[in-house]
């Protein structure tokens, strides 16, 4: 089951980290409605992460709270893209758009996984992701087509985010096995479908995907190599839990 654990860990960590980043908009959004929207998505992401940690627990890993909040940053398998700071609303929106389309396509595929516990969870989650993607598409379009400043900001954010986003599709050691036993379609297939879906939406938002010759995926996250942003976030999200790890909180 090592191959399934690898898949579950990277997904659970992606969701745990982006869920925390989304939650950081609470109280600070550009309009109140966006504080609320990002909080809703944060709750979904953290909930999805918890569901995946629960499957891991059933596979013999530590129980979800301990697993999520007692590891060091170098033991995390999330893509570096997700640990970067929220920065401004432009970068957050671009990341939300790029990640959530990949997330939705991933769970769509996993709804048919041969590994039934994951397929069952994926079927439930994919219904919620429809709204995340809907939200991202609306904002990409509004800001890409807004005014000169918003357009320029969104294009810059897209340029800055792009290679990090490609890092979401970093392959793990068990990639071939996951594909062979129909657990998961594989990162390359997922990336191809993702590109096909996001390209027309980006064009409609009057934005341009960076030229392919400049594509250099930021890799390493899946193998535990991270930016200092993750150290800061892991310390923060575990801060209270680690005061007394055995206690009930």
């Amino acid at each position: 089951m090592e191959h399934i654990k690898e898949l579950l860990y990277k997904m659970a960590d992606d969701l745990l980290v982006i869920g925390h980043r989304n939650s950081e908009w609470t109280g600070l959004g550009p309009i109140l409605e966006e504080d609320i929207a990002f909080s809703s998505m944060a709750q979904d992401k953290i909930g999805h992460s918890q569901a995946l940690f629960q499957i891991l627990h059933e596979l013999g890993e530590p129980e979800p709270d301990t697993n999520a909040f007692m590891r060091e940053a170098k033991q995390f398998h999330n893509a570096q893209f997700l640990e970067l700071q929220n920065d401004d609303y432009d970068f957050s929106t671009i990341r939300h758009f790029l990640f959530d389309h990949a997330d939705q396509l991933r769970f769509d595929n996993l709804a048919n996984s041969s590994y039934e516990p994951l397929a069952k969870v994926a079927r439930k989650i994919k219904g919620e992701l429809k709204y995340h993607v809907f939200h991202a598409d609306i904002w990409l379009n509004k800001l890409g087509n807004g005014n000169e400043e918003s357009h320029a900001r969104m294009q810059t954010a897209l340029n800055n985010a792009w290679n990090y986003a490609l890092g979401m599709f970093e392959k793990g050691d068990y990639e071939a096995q996951l594909i062979a036993d129909n657990t998961f379609e594989g990162e390359q297939s997922l990336q191809n479908r993702w590109l096909a879906v996001i390209t027309p939406i980006i064009e409609k938002a009057n934005l341009k995907i960076p030229a392919e010759k400049d594509w250099e995926p930021v890799l390493g996250g899946r193998k535990g190599y991270h930016t200092e942003n993750l150290d800061q976030l892991v310390n923060e999200m575990s801060e209270v839990f680690r005061i007394e790890p055995g206690a009930e909180w």
Partner: protein, 329 residues
Amino acid sequence: MYGNAYIDPNEKANAMLAGEDPIKLAEFEARIARGEKIEPKDWMPKEYRKQLIRMIEQHGHSEIIGALPEGTWITRAPGFKRKLALMAKVQDEVGHAQLLYSAAETLGKSREDMINDLITGKSKYSNVFNYPAYTWADACIIAWLIDAGAIINQVANAKGSYGPYCRALDRICTEESFHLKYGHDNVVTLATGTPIQRKMVQEALTRWWPPIMHFFGPSDKISSHTEILMRWKVKMASNDDMRQQFLNMYVPKIWDLGLVIPDANLKKNEETGKWDYTEPDWDEFKRVINGGGPCNAERLAVRRMAEEKGRWVRAALLRKDEKYVTPLA
């Protein structure tokens, strides 16, 4: 959560009614006396509009500023269950601000103007949020006892005379009752937990008791201007009455948990049936409300930063062919 609106005690009733048409005023007061609700398009005295805008706006500000001390604990909340619950709670608070600003907008002040008045310091918010939440236990005490105080205040105000505000409060109170359960569950967990947890929660209670006693506003002895606002059902209960109700409901629950309230004089007076307590330091209250509290500057700076950083987003949403429309109810 919510803070009691701070109404300037120096405004005299006569000045408040200057220039009003006596026939319309009598009709308006008769409607309120019959228990009718006043709606946005109805005639109302200028002062009624002004006091309501001030009160609803302050309430809205308290919700978004209140999201800051609790919000910093979202990423730190221990474990999945607490994180998910705290996120949902603080999200509710921001949602309350949205409801309240809409209710205040029906009286003719735009959300943008209200937020500008907040960040320039012209408009107040609940004093309690000018104090820091040092530990997780502070966030738990806030969720339980500040929200408990808010419910007492809001249940009273929900019976007031202005329709849109009452309807917003009805919904807010429903959500707040969950917050209260959430806060209580957190405090019970800490108070019945390990020695470190018990110490944390006791220290948080000790820190928060003076702001909690301030929460309902100055003593009636020094805040005697409210007669007309009570008649208009803008203000529904006196500050001291609400404070007594709070003490009656929550002091026994706090003591049940084995926690110590830092007021040696606090006890129920068998003769009067009311609680005796050390008079809160009202000079401190005034000092904090006027900007001298430990977090006033930080709270407004964060809010200003959020407004500044979000300006380009709001600008990008504006369309030349769209114009501002006041919400109807």
